[in-house]
């Protein structure tokens, strides 16, 4: 692996300070503190319902937080719509269920946001799209519709679609959880490649192999709190918190 390219810079990409979120009266996220440097690759793990999705969805304001501070790329998240749209166009997001636009071709899925948000000319947007579709190894599917592709292919298109906006940060919410086993690898390969190029990444995933290979930090969440964080080797070999130990023993198997 190209270790040199995977160097983390000192520049800060995301700052989260004392962030709290409630769904009604239900306290989902409690006093989250997290700083992410540019080029860092963070894997977030934790039991179902622990607030992993909510955390990364707060970063691009798909969910609103009620207390604390989130700063992305030097822009503080406020309820100002202009602000939110700016952050969203800098931060790419990949969902568990792909969320491709079924009424548009693969190519149109990839060019839509650059054309309408970035005001890129159509020709240029299509060239960029083909570039990234080639990168995720499905340029030949450009004129098909999402419904004609396999799950793994769809997820790779979703990654390409995000990359077409030239984001500086990528968020992944369980990108392989809805895939058949033989398709998980092709998506993980794409993500590893992205990591090697120095993309700042936050990944919610239970693929511990991926975490060990590319993450420089693993964060463990439980009940809306960050319970433990460490570099992958330490995290897996020497977990401190009881919950982490239990979780790892369940997920890594017997």
């Amino acid at each position: 692996m190209a270790e040199a390219a995977m160097k983390v810079s000192n520049e800060i990409a995301i700052t989260i300070e004392k962030m709290n979120k409630w769904y009604g009266t239900f306290h989902v996220l409690r006093d989250i503190d997290l700083t992410v440097n540019r080029g860092e690759r963070i894997v977030i793990a934790g039991p179902s319902g622990s607030g992993k999705s909510t955390l990364i969805r707060c970063i691009n304001a798909l969910e609103e937080h009620q207390k604390g501070r989130i700063e992305v790329d030097g822009t503080v998240l406020s309820s100002d719509i202009k602000n939110i749209d700016k952050i969203r166009s800098e931060v790419g997001m990949v969902f568990q269920h792909f969320n491709l636009f079924p009424h548009l071709t693969i190519l149109e899925n990839c060019t839509l946001a650059p054309i309408w948000v970035r005001k890129v000319p159509k020709r240029e947007a299509e060239e960029t799209a083909m570039h990234f579709l080639t990168k995720v190894k499905i340029p030949e599917q450009a004129n098909k519709y999402p419904g004609q592709l396999s799950g793994g292919q769809q997820q790779r298109v979703a990654i390409a679609r995000s990359l077409c906006m030239r984001p500086r940060i990528m968020l992944f919410d369980e990108p392989t959880s809805a895939l058949d086993p033989e398709m998980i690898k092709e998506v993980l390969d794409t993500m590893v490649e992205l990591a090697e190029e120095g993309m700042t990444m936050l990944c919610v995933t239970h693929e511990m192999g991926f975490a060990q290979a590319v993450a420089n930090r693993v964060i463990f969440m439980d009940q809306g709190q960050i319970v433990e964080q460490n570099e992958p080797k330490e995290f897996f070999n020497n977990p401190q918190n009881e919950r982490t130990k239990l979780f790892l023993s369940q997920i890594l198997g017997h």
């Binding site: 969320n99 009424h103 519709y145 679609r161 995000s162």
Partner: protein, 431 residues
């Protein structure tokens, strides 16, 4: 023969292509599979055949002996001498009245006919958007003004200033929006249009004969033309209004949401015929005396409100059927609300809603005949009123109502077929 030799095989002459056995193709196979597959179906087929033949044989002399050139029902009866036969002469003699009503000036019929022909060219770029260049939509945008001028006549300045008002508003809107937001831009656009229309109205009023067609007042519109005008105008207005209402009902802003909910629920709770009576009588009380608020315009407003409420509910169903992930994907890519709705949400929601929207559109077109109860002379009004009440044609029911069916059915059937075709065109999910 050894084992090896029996396994190996090389073909040296190719088999010629043969037609399938006769019992497996063509009419014979179709008849057997569809009409006589078993005893019960065979009986049903025979009974159905018997009934069809009975009806055709019974109705045939009625058509065959039909009179086309008499001048009254009495004359038909005299010639037929008691044998069965239709009196189609009512159609030939009252042809123009059935199509245009009885007061539209005869020498001006070419105008609505031309407007009708042009409608095909205006509708095509919308209906077959995937095959035709987008530039043609320019004609679609101009068509309402052309059609208005052709049908109602008067000076060309009237539709020209109407168009100018829209153009001015459309130019002002984006400039103000960039500087000071959506709400003030909307206000500025409305004020601009109002000023252009007011000034234009004054100018057009002083020169009523500049490039003018003979003006035809609204009360002179009638016959199937009136149904067609009401149907086309109300469908084209109620679709965008329905979309806005459906979006408004979903809005986060409580005031907008409540206005839409109250409007939709109120309109759906009232029979259309009541609204038409309101349009006819009650609205006049609210207007300052002396103002002459066009009756057709009042009816168009009522029918449009009525069907837009239904369309809004149909589209709400389409919106609800979309997975939340589509909104989230659009948001996460940085699309703003308007872009997300226009590019992602609406195309999908409308596609799901096509059958429901078509239902409303077909219903609306047929409901335009309800205007006959507020003494407008649309096709039904013409038949029930001036024609059946006349001494010549009193009692000619089958021929007239059959003709009405013949006019309405192809339009409604056409709309339905088009929508099914469109659904197939737009199906991208399971190819």
């Amino acid at each position: 023969m050894t084992e090896k030799a029996s396994l190996a095989f090389v073909r040296d002459t190719m088999l010629p292509e043969q037609p399938p056995p006769a019992s497996e193709t063509g009419i014979i196979k179709w008849v057997r599979a569809n009409l006589f597959p078993d005893v019960l179906n065979s009986i049903l087929t025979i009974v159905a055949l018997y009934l069809i033949i009975k009806i055709v044989v019974g109705a045939w002399p009625w058509f065959a002996n039909g009179m086309w050139a008499t001048s009254s029902l009495a004359e038909c009866r005299e010639i037929l001498q008691g044998t069965t036969g239709a009196c189609f002469s009512v159609l030939t003699e009252r042809w123009n009245q059935l199509l245009f009503g009885f007061t539209y000036p005869n020498d001006q019929y070419w105008r609505p006919i031309l407007a009708f022909v042009l409608l095909a060219f205006a509708a095509a770029p919308m209906l077959f958007a995937m095959f035709l260049p987008r530039k043609l939509l320019l004609f679609t945008a101009l068509y309402p003004f052309i059609a208005f001028w052709l049908i109602w006549g008067g000076t060309v300045l009237t539709p020209l200033f109407a168009l100018l008002g829209f153009v001015a508003a459309a130019t002002v809107f984006p400039r103000v929006e960039k500087a000071s937001g959506f709400a003030s831009a909307l206000g500025a656009a409305v004020v601009t249009a109002a000023i252009v229309w007011y000034v234009g109205g004054l100018i057009a009023g002083t020169t009523p004969n500049l490039i003018a067609l003979e003006p035809v007042p609204s009360r002179d519109m009638g016959g199937f033309m009136l149904n067609f005008i009401l149907g086309t105008v109300c469908v084209s207005l109620s679709l965008p209004l329905g979309i806005l209402l459906a979006l408004g009902r979903q809005s986060n802003m409580p005031i907008i949401k409540w206005i839409c909910v109250v409007f939709i629920e109120f309109i759906r709770g009232v029979p259309l015929i009541t609204l038409l009576f309101v349009a006819n009588v009650v609205l006049a009380y609210f207007l300052p005396p002396g103002t002459n608020f066009d009756l057709i315009l009042r009816v168009i407003i009522m029918i449009t409100m009525f069907s837009s409420a239904y369309i809004a509910e149909v589209i709400r169903g389409g919106l609800a059927a979309l997975p939340k992930g589509q909104y989230e994907a659009a948001d996460s890519l940085g699309l703003d609300y308007a872009q997300a709705m226009r590019l992602i949400i609406m195309p999908q929601a409308l596609k799901i809603s096509i059958p429901g929207i078509v239902n409303v559109a077909v219903g609306l077109f047929k409901d335009t005949t309800l205007v006959s109860v507020i003494s407008m002379f649309d096709l039904v009004g013409m038949i029930r009123g001036p024609i059946l009440a006349s001494t010549e044609w009193n009692g000619v029911y089958w021929e007239l109502w059959g003709f009405a069916i013949l006019l309405f059915f192809p339009v409604c059937y056409g709309i339905s077929q088009y929508s099914q075709w469109l659904e197939r065109q737009l199906a991208t999910d399971h190819r």
